[in-house]
Symmetry: C2
């Protein structure tokens, strides 16, 4: 009788998504510590830098393995290496940018993605005036070419910066040709099938929740 995949893999209890979302923060801090020449770090020290409890750090890491030494702490370089491996940050990821308006251009020109293994390898826009233009070293393709290029270039991540009303349609097409992670800048939350990840970047929501705390509620 076949074992189910969970028991085959000897998996401990599944890692919550909130924990996965914190791992990149750990990677960032460890990268800085490595640059500063630190060799070992304790959960206590990491917690201080990240403003979280040491218990949370140890618990988070325990979902993925045993990386520390009692009495000593974690080797900065080894823990960093393991976390990057777990997050897939040692791989190169081909990324498409869809929508080359003002925001799309800022994203394409932003140097912050590349150091982390994200390669912007294709850009798309529906505007014929923009198609053919070179932005940040990339020639802008028309949306008609999307399916072909996404498949041929093995693009699994897309950054979508198109007008709100086109977002769901664009995301649907991307998912249909193999994209499994979408970073969306439109103020909606596109719906995708199970197994596809979406993260929304929505600064207006952030501002709108902060104003709550700037507002006097004594009379309501």
């Amino acid at each position: 009788m076949a074992l189910d995949s969970a028991s085959q893999n000897q998996r401990r209890s599944a890692e919550p998504e909130v924990v996965v979302e914190r791992l990149p923060l750990y990677v960032r801090i460890l990268t800085r510590l490595l640059q500063e020449g630190a060799e070992v770090v304790s959960s206590q020290q990491l917690g201080e830098k990240l403003q979280v409890t040491p218990a949370q750090i140890r618990k988070d890491l325990s979902y993925f393995g045993r990386f520390g030494k009692q009495g000593r702490g974690y080797s900065v370089i080894h823990l960093l290496e393991r976390l990057k491996l777990i997050l897939g940050l040692n791989s190169f990821w081909n990324v498409a940018v869809v929508g080359v308006g003002r925001l799309g251009r800022a994203i394409l020109s932003y140097p912050g993605f590349t150091p982390d293994g994200f390669h912007l390898v294709a850009a798309f826009d529906s505007n014929p005036d923009v198609v053919g233009e070179t932005v940040a070293g990339l020639t802008v393709n028309s949306l008609e070419q999307l399916d072909e290029i996404v498949s041929s270039k093995k693009i699994s991540i897309a950054i979508v910066a198109v007008p709100t009303e086109h977002t769901q349609g664009v995301v649907d097409r991307l998912v249909a040709c193999g994209v499994r992670a979408v970073l969306n800048y439109a103020p909606i939350s596109p719906q995708v099938r199970e197994g596809v990840r979406v993260r929304n970047i929505d600064p207006v929501l952030s501002l709108q929740s902060m104003t709550y705390y700037l507002t006097d509620h004594s009379v309501e």
Copy 2:
């Protein structure tokens, strides 16, 4: 004997921050419903549109008042009005942008903030070549003028898009001259005193947590 402020204000249990962060989503959906001509909406219908349970919507709203009618639901226009009032979205907010590089320019030119009552009224940059330039109708000021202009223009919100190494310093200055809400685009989390709000926009973190799910973990 003086009552403590909680009992003076007849406050029910304090609203959790997660709830405040959802209110702008409710405002957004209700705005759309109003445009579509809907007059009444139930927690059930709102829940379907937002992909959350109706119970969560009713519970969230209950922290701020009783807005519905049993057997009928919520008046779209009235609930929208009340939520905007609670969030301070009927006020105008003067906003400064600090850092007029590529990202700052994209932010200044982005039309999406204005409709929601956020007025970009001042821009600052440390680069003398940029100071004096006009971007999106605003003359860029030098950082020396920051304190004076933030105070005189009653700016309580700042959008910070400066290099990482200058971020904490800039935020400290902003807070010192009265800013109480910061939208930060650098890949760090600036520390601020109690009572000041910070939201970080950090697309790299979003990408880095998504790659986890694109990665094969069977051999680790």
